[in-house]
């Protein structure tokens, strides 16, 4: 399996005016193969979102090297696009759901009849057809999350980055979301998915491998599902406990 994503010694620190900067990621080395589904686990502030922002080219590493299909992340996103589900969804609140999707579809290169068809299908897939004309700020949290999932489906890309995708979804839609991801992977076996989440059982169901980040360090790496008496939750708790500070920087 060829590497889709490669990180070598990536460090990201945020500089702050008149105060010491904080290190969000410290010396991360990681390879993600084509068609792989990787879980990124860790407590709040571990650096999960920063890792995704680096892969999208929103941020640049302070040191180290990142490539996505051999290209700089920003260039890859500009040329090929990345299907990204952000943790905090900021959609134009005053507009109807279908208009929001239309705008994003245009940015995806869709237009005319194809755009309308794709928007209608995306809304249908996430069960929001009856809310197509509802303003975004009138949607419930779960519906808003489903709308954010719908925008991924307008034009699914080769690389899919999901930041807490299951937040606010009920068990039925969680199952549907898993089903959708498996369809996306079946459609293109080379599609690579990275999912950052706190929901360990769900990550265990979706991903084939997971890394554990804490304090910006890569603490552990596990194959999923975890077999034997040890659970994923236990592994993550061990990796993120204060005593594990000297546990090394991953594999």
């Amino acid at each position: 399996m060829g590497a889709m994503i490669e990180l070598r010694g990536v460090t990201k620190s945020y500089r702050r005016f008149r105060s010491a900067g904080s290190v969000a990621l410290d010396g991360i080395t990681l390879r993600v193969g084509r068609g792989e589904c990787l879980g990124v686990l860790g407590p709040n502030g571990a650096g999960k979102t920063t890792l995704l922002a680096l892969l999208l080219g929103f941020l640049r590493p302070s040191s180290g090297f990142i490539s996505v299909e051999g290209a700089e992340p920003c260039r890859y996103a500009r040329e090929s696009g990345v299907s990204y589900l952000p943790e905090s969804i900021r959609l134009a609140g005053g507009r109807p759901a279908c208009q929001v999707l239309c705008r994003l579809g245009i940015l995806d290169g869709l237009g005319g009849a194809a755009l309308k068809v794709r928007v209608a299908h995306a809304l249908d897939r996430v069960g929001l057809t009856q809310h197509a004309g509802t303003r975004v700020n009138a949607l419930s949290k779960g519906s808003l999350q489903r709308l954010a999932i719908a925008q991924l489906l307008l034009r699914p890309r080769r690389l899919i980055l999901l930041d807490e995708p299951l937040a606010g979804l009920d068990p039925f839609w969680r199952a549907e979301f898993r089903h959708l991801l498996s369809e996306l992977r079946r459609e293109d076996p080379n599609r690579t998915i990275i999912i950052a989440s706190h929901d360990l059982p769900e990550v265990e169901r979706i991903a084939g491998r997971a890394i554990v980040l804490t304090g910006g360090l890569l603490r552990d790496e596990v194959r999923l599902p975890v077999r034997g008496p040890c659970t994923l939750e236990k592994l993550v708790c061990e990796a993120t406990s204060p005593g594990s500070a000297d546990a090394g920087r991953g594999p």
Binding site: R78, G81, R125, R158
Partner: protein, 269 residues
């Protein structure tokens, strides 16, 4: 989520044409346009009429109604140019505010820049939508000022109004774009403060003999040329070719720098 339709995915258009998005970006600006129109209706046009009446009253005292009409016709372009220039300045500051910073602070970049969109093209589209709004507003306000003045003498010609709006939008808009790419908040306010400061500081920088300090003159030359061009467009006064070249070069440099900064800077924190 059943019935997923495969077949679309993978590589998208390398450079996406943002022309289809442009009308929507334009519509986004309509609330601000309405605010500006209401503001100009409430403040600027009555201000202009008041100025015109004060000129008329002075003239009537000097030589009767016939003389007053002649003087008002001649004097209309002066107050009109001042009022229109003030409107263009305020409109540009309001329309361009947050042109790059809002994308960052509202988190819009997460949805936009993960798609195959050139950041430079996206910001250029936002710039173009704002410029179009300014042109339309300039036409409406110039028409309103014309109707408020002597009917036979237009206060500001439509072509001149559009030209002034283009100069204001390209030069000042580019300046705000640079500030907006660098700052998260207060971009337009900073530029407004700089413009006020420039007016205040020029007399302060004057040498004891009365001349402006050479360094200040050099630094402020583009702004001075910009003012010259606007004045000439709105009052039919002649303008030096050097001023046009200077403003064009500085405007292009500012626009390029703003787009480059907006493209290169980090998003997400």
């Amino acid at each position: 989520m059943r019935g997923y339709q495969p077949g679309i995915g993978g590589r998208g258009p390398r450079t996406l044409s943002l022309l289809r998005l442009w009308p929507r970006l334009f519509l986004d600006m309509l609330p601000r346009c309405s605010l500006l129109l209401a503001g100009s209706g409430v403040v600027l046009v009555p201000l202009f009429i008041q100025l015109r009446h004060s000129v008329a009253a002075e003239a009537a005292g000097a030589g009767g109604v016939a003389a007053a009409t002649d003087i008002v016709a001649g004097a209309s372009s002066g107050p009109a140019a001042g009022v229109f220039r003030l409107f263009l300045l305020v409109a540009t500051l309001v329309l361009w505010e947050g042109i790059a910073a809002a994308v960052r602070r509202d988190g819009l970049f997460r949805m936009v820049f993960s798609r195959p969109v050139s950041r430079r093209s996206y910001f250029l589209a936002r710039f173009g939508a704002r410029l179009t709004c300014l042109l339309l507003l300039a036409l409406v306000v110039a028409e309103a000022l014309d109707r408020a003045t002597v009917p036979s003498v237009p206060a500001i010609g439509r072509i001149h109004a559009l030209q002034a709006a283009v100069v204001m939008g390209l030069f000042l808009g580019s300046l705000i774009l640079v500030a907006s790419a660098a700052l998260d908040r207060g971009d337009a306010l900073l530029i407004a403060a700089l413009l006020v400061l420039e007016k205040v500081s020029i007399p302060g920088w004057a040498a004891p003999g009365g001349a402006v300090h050479p360094l200040a003159k050099t630094l402020l030359a583009p702004l001075t040329a910009f003012e010259d061009i606007l004045r000439s467009l709105l009052t039919d006064a002649p303008v030096a070719a050097g001023s046009i070249v200077l403003v064009a070069v500085c405007g292009a440099a500012l626009l390029g720098s703003g787009l480059l900064m907006a493209e290169r800077r980090e998003y997400g924190r």
